[in-house]
């Protein structure tokens, strides 16, 4: 037997090590559709508990929207369950083309190619477009999927300090001799909720003849006046050369992603991106669901407007209660606790109070920056947010952190 007791023991030791280090991820089982109100089994085997979900990427509340569910049902009936093929053999249906055209129109780009996920889009896009003669210059806080994509690409890679435009300019000067230069950033940074300064980045990219790449997974559908994304917010709709994004967050929450941008770059992905070439096409019901999502968002800004006002209400409520928040204006609102154990204790107590929110700590965020990351949705009603604020206040009072500054919290609980 190849899988010997010694091998099993080796893996068990690694897993125990993760548990000892507090890094072991435990999944909480949800027995209801994704929504503001969910039913959760946690710990495993316990009776179901109704809680308010305040940590989903369901920004627009479309994950279980009846029109989206209906469209997915209709797509299932009209186009089947799966295609049993990659796109270029026999996996491209009319609705895949339709969705690609709709995404291009929505984002204001020249062309779009679908991927099974945005993780796959980021894994494939760089190696499809760049060579060893080029350089990728990425913000130091970009998403893990971008880091993996960069690793798979033969181009030189360098980084600039988070959102530091002077440092980015230094790097563009340093690498002036490369054939192509690509500046890479998230649109909205998922842990802090801040946005990339795309207007300044676009100016630098123009000045130094560099391509601009943005992963807008935490922005598409709701950032910007009409929800087109970070490039709309900063008035640079025509300046971003490549956008990657996901359909697994604001845009319906199921799965799938895309690369959208200059048509030659998209075509390079269609010809060369390995996660695209060697993964199945997106399932027809999911495609039909995303088409409906884009129809809803193109017809009205009602949902992103509600998300914006919910976010303002939530930020104001937490600030008045006396919590320390990360500055920002996106629906990602980090409640700073600084200490890892405190973040776990607060998360546990919030759950007891009927609020589902997760604590993040090192190595997911830097040492000493543990937090509860809250994420607001257009699916939340004010009564959800009021109840969640009551729970936060009660738990914050228990730990004596309300009205306390960062240094005072660190003095009480450590980093």
């Amino acid at each position: 037997m190849a899988y010997s007791d010694k091998t099993r023991g080796m893996y068990n030791d690694i897993l125990y090590g993760l548990q000892d280090a507090g890094l072991f991820k435990q999944e909480r089982v949800i027995h209801s559709p994704q929504a503001a109100d969910i039913e959760v089994e946690f710990p495993t085997g316990s009776s179901l508990k109704k809680v308010i979900n305040i940590c989903a990427n369901n920004y627009l509340g479309l994950s279980s929207h009846p029109d989206v569910v209906k469209a997915a049902h209709e797509g299932l009936d009209s186009h089947g369950y799966g295609m049993s093929s990659v796109r270029f053999i026999c996996g491209t249906q009319d609705i895949h083309r339709q969705l690609e055209n709709m995404v291009s129109k929505f984002l204001g780009t020249e062309d779009t190619i679908l991927f099974p996920s945005c993780m796959d889009a980021n894994a494939g896009v760089f190696e499809a477009i760049l060579t060893k003669d080029d350089v990728m210059i990425s913000d130091r806080l970009v998403h893990a999927s971008i880091i993996d994509g960069i690793r798979l690409c033969s181009a030189m890679h360098d980084t600039f300090k988070h959102s530091d435009m002077a440092h980015l300019e230094n790097k563009l000067q340093l690498h002036h001799d490369r054939r192509l230069k690509m500046v890479i950033t998230d649109g909205v940074f998922s842990m802090d909720g801040d946005t990339a300064k795309l207007d300044e980045m676009a100016v630098l990219c123009d000045k130094y003849d560099a391509l601009l790449f943005v992963d807008d997974s935490h922005a598409s559908g709701f950032i910007g006046k009409t929800g087109r994304g970070t490039h709309e917010k900063y008035g640079v709709m025509d300046k971003v050369d490549i956008i990657t994004t996901t359909f697994g967050k604001g845009l319906g929450g199921a799965s799938g992603g895309c690369v959208s941008g200059r048509k030659e770059l998209v075509e390079m992905c269609r010809q060369k991106a390995r996660p695209y070439l060697f993964s199945n096409t997106i399932a027809p019901p999911v495609v039909a669901g995303v088409i409906k999502v884009l129809e809803i968002l193109s017809a009205t800004t009602e949902r992103r407007d509600k998300l914006e006002s919910n976010t303002e209400f939530w930020r104001k409520g937490l600030t008045e209660a006396g919590f320390v928040l990360k500055e920002g204006d996106t629906p990602i609102v980090p409640v700073m606790l600084f200490n890892a154990k405190l973040s776990q204790d607060v998360s546990r107590d919030l759950y007891q109070e009927g609020v589902y929110a997760i604590g993040f700590f090192f190595p997911v965020v830097p040492q000493g920056q543990a937090r509860i990351r809250t994420q607001i949705s257009a699916g939340h009603e004010i009564h959800h947010l009021e109840k969640a604020l009551d729970a936060f206040s009660k738990v914050g009072k228990k730990y004596n952190i309300l009205g306390k500054a960062k240094q005072e919290i660190i003095e009480m609980y450590g980093m």
């Binding site: 990425s138 880091i147 030189m156 360098d158 980084t159 300090k161 340093l174 690498h175």
Partner: protein, 80 residues
């Protein structure tokens, strides 16, 4: 002539250290998490420009860049 050790240390602090962590000549830079391997390229290019040398890719390893002392040893080797 500028002290190479001070020049390299100052560059490392300015480029990579974003808090008040202390860096000595032997502080582990890459294995210690101060410099990620992604960011090594700018350090390599800085050294090449500053000392007018070419550091072969097979010598620009994370191990060779893991402290100011090791970096300076590599630069001296490349200067010849």
């Amino acid at each position: 002539m500028e002290d190479m050790y001070e020049v390299v240390k100052e560059y490392v602090i300015d480029e990579y250290v974003e808090d008040d962590s202390e860096v000595t000549l032997d502080t582990p830079l890459i294995s210690g998490g101060i410099v990620d391997s992604f960011s090594m390229v700018s350090l390599k290019r800085f050294l090449e420009n500053k000392y007018n040398i070419s550091i072969p890719d097979d010598k620009a390893t994370p191990e060779a860049f893991d402290s100011v002392n090791k970096i300076c040893a590599l630069v001296k080797e490349c200067i010849g």
